[in-house]
């Protein structure tokens, strides 16, 4: 197994898929020079500028044109640069791509991977820091994936490219350089969570970079004798309800942690689903996410919106202290 960065893992997946299937191509601004986060470095040399295509600053056209190209038989990988800019192509994604197959009675497909680098990245401020994965999980027709590790960024990218549905693929900008072992024989499966750590005391559900934070929290909790089970959902639609419900049934305690704004975030879906399941909890569930404020440039203000390992651990501590219901 090779050790590689989160960025390189996805790049490898893209390159392999492009070698195997001529119909796969990438399109986005500056891709010919490797893309803004160097996730494409070297690819234009191998595949040429038609398949690693530059684009005008035209998010709506990048999304819309890639969709048109998908309808006639290609398999585009669309680079949105920052998830925030993808909002310039919302009609294309939500009204067109997500709905076409259904609206046209099954006549069309949109096998597309829509890459949207997400999340806080030091001092990028409010227009370059958003986590809107919950939005896309709400839209029928879309698959939503937020890998947190190099292994998963490799395996899920392979799965996303192989998928015949449009996949909103949210990579976290903060972990481009995160290194890890990658087994390239693995292919991801949407709707299958990864058990990042097992434990019987409290279930921590998370995804994207916050899953890494949650794992760190679980380490700290272990040091003081609390066994946390960390579930990284990896994909939000479909999501692994079974894994969450099974774990909660075992631990009786649930924390959901994510970077997005808590209000209306996907954490609510997880907590609500557990509540509706009738699972017996020994303490009320806890949701940790950003307050309903905006991401600041100043680091001390930016930090006020972050969910930290300490916050997760503290929530677990409090739950363990609470009287069982």
């Amino acid at each position: 197994m090779a050790v590689m960065s989160y960025a390189d893992a996805a790049k490898l997946a893209v390159a392999e898929a492009m070698r195997e299937d001529d119909r796969v191509w990438c399109v986005g601004e500056d891709l010919g020079r490797g893309g803004v986060f160097k996730q494409y470095t070297g690819l234009v040399e191998e595949f040429g500028p038609k398949r690693i295509s530059d684009a005008p600053i035209s998010e709506a056209a990048i999304m819309g044109a890639a969709f048109g190209a998908a309808m006639v038989g290609t398999r585009p990988i669309v680079e949105m640069r920052f998830a925030d800019f993808a909002l310039c192509a919302t009609d294309e994604l939500v009204n067109q791509i997500a709905k076409a197959r259904f609206m046209f009675g099954g006549q069309s497909r949109a096998p597309m991977v829509i890459r949207k680098p997400m999340g806080m990245w030091r001092s990028s401020a409010a227009q370059h820091s958003q986590s809107l994965e919950g939005w896309y999980a709400h839209i029928p027709g879309l698959v939503v994936c937020c890998p947190a590790t190099p292994q998963d960024n490799y395996a899920m990218m392979r799965a996303a490219i192989a998928c015949d549905d449009p996949v909103v693929y949210l990579e976290h900008k903060n972990i481009w350089a995160l290194e890890g072992e990658v087994d390239t024989s693995l292919r991801g499966e949407f709707g299958k969570a990864r058990l990042r750590r097992s434990g019987g005391d409290v279930t921590i559900v998370s995804w994207s970079d916050t899953a890494n934070v949650a794992e760190a929290a679980a380490g700290a909790l272990a040091d003081r004798g609390i066994a946390a089970e960390v579930i990284d959902l990896i994909s939000l639609w479909p999501w692994d309800k079974r894994a969450v419900l099974d774990s909660v049934r075992k631990t009786g305690r649930l924390i959901v942690a994510h970077e997005a704004v808590a209000v209306g975030g996907f954490g609510a879906e997880v907590v609500a689903t557990v509540a509706q399941s009738g699972a017996r909890l020994s303490a009320p569930p806890v949701r940790l996410g950003a307050p309903r404020s905006l991401v600041s440039y100043a680091p001390n203000l930016e930090d006020k919106l972050r969910v930290t390992a300490a916050m997760i651990a503290e929530a677990a501590d409090k739950m363990m202290e609470a009287e069982p219901a």
Binding site: P56, G64, A65, V72, G105
Partner: protein, 331 residues
Amino acid sequence: MSLRNFDTRAGLARLILMERIRAFEETARRAAVEEGLVLGAIHLSIGQEAVAVGLIESLRRDDYITSTHRGHGHTLAKGADPQAMMKELLGRAGGCCGGKGGSMHIADFGVGMLGANGVVSANITIAAGAAHGVKLLGGDQVVVCFFGDGAANRGPFLEGLNWAGVFDLPILFVCEDNRYSASTLTAAMTSGNVAGRARALGLRVTEIDGNDVEELAQVAAEITARIRETGQPEFLHALTYRLDGHTYFDPATYRPEGEAERMRAERDPIARQRELLFEAGLSVAELNTVREAARDEMAAALEAARAAPWPDEASVFDDVQDVGSPAMEAF
């Protein structure tokens, strides 16, 4: 259009297709107004049939088109089955979209009709992308993208035309200028003009009378042949007129007194084509037969649609997505 070089057979075929489009829409309108059989809003292209017919004639079956909310004519001209279309308008099983889309999402991928669109201008980037896909796959198809004058005021007009110009794509953008954007005179909301914008976006532009099917057919044949040859995008501005309201229930009282009547009297493309064929020797009876045949065909389509069942309820969970399909969820 003069009679010199007039090909009567081809001209008759054009009339037949225009009559079929008109009959389809008049039948659908009657089914909507009188019987409430057509369920959602339908946007009729009555008066604009020449654009669809003249343009699409030069396309191959495997060429692609995209359309707008006003897409019946384009869809029929591309070769779709009117029965399947009528079923779609009635929301029935056997509709070309399984009853899920209705008039505004009419599509027939089997004949290269990649869909009407309920969002104005959205089909422009999609069409450019279809042409991009053709080029990537090494095909020699041409894409024709139809849109209205109002659509030229949305961003995708600029982004889609620029895209086609930058990537040298085999596409013809057709602005079907009927002067109105719903109840608004488009000129009042447009700075500069549409053809000029296309020119400034680097495309070769042709301006044409959109109610003269003969000229349209001739010019379209030249343009689409050139696009197939060069792979370069072009733009056609076709000036036409919407004889009806924006939707079938729009009385269109915002139009200047007498305008529609004058247009109907002077510029109806079907009346013009009938005259031409009459001059070329066809009898009124022959011409009326064409009309009757079209009406009969569409009446039969309506009967077939009326008799068709509603879609299977289980299909509401089909064709959403493979991964995470709602069919697998319990609700």
